[in-house]
Subunit: 80 residues, 2 copies
Amino acid sequence: MKAKVHITLKPGVLDPQGKAIGRALASLGFSGVGEVRQGKLIELDLQADDAESARVEVRAMCDKLLANTVIETYTIDLEP
Amino acid sequence: MKAKVHITLKPGVLDPQGKAIGRALASLGFSGVGEVRQGKLIELDLQADDAESARVEVRAMCDKLLANTVIETYTIDLEP
């Protein structure tokens, strides 16, 4: 089973990396770009059999290691 | 319109960051985790009106700035 974890900064948390990307896009001539936010994408190969146990395990991984839940939120997509 | 760009390393490209995450997960007791790959997620607010022109613009942004197309691939998700 494959899990895709999207980790993004919570709304309101400053994102200097996203701001830098936005300014770079503007300097390249891309107008009409509003806010830019950068996050992380982590793809995991899991040996879990059913989706529910996989989701529980990935959620534990996020809370313990992958995400800083003080400033970040995460979403988990599972693919068989 | 919102665009989400997922940037991942092409298959076969070494991913030391993903390997480090995999080892850290194993050392925390998460067994059954196979390959781990880390990518980037970039969220953009766009002022484009129709999805097709937005997709063309975001693809140009990826090719010029956001992704290193020698070693990375990207997918674009658009939300109204």
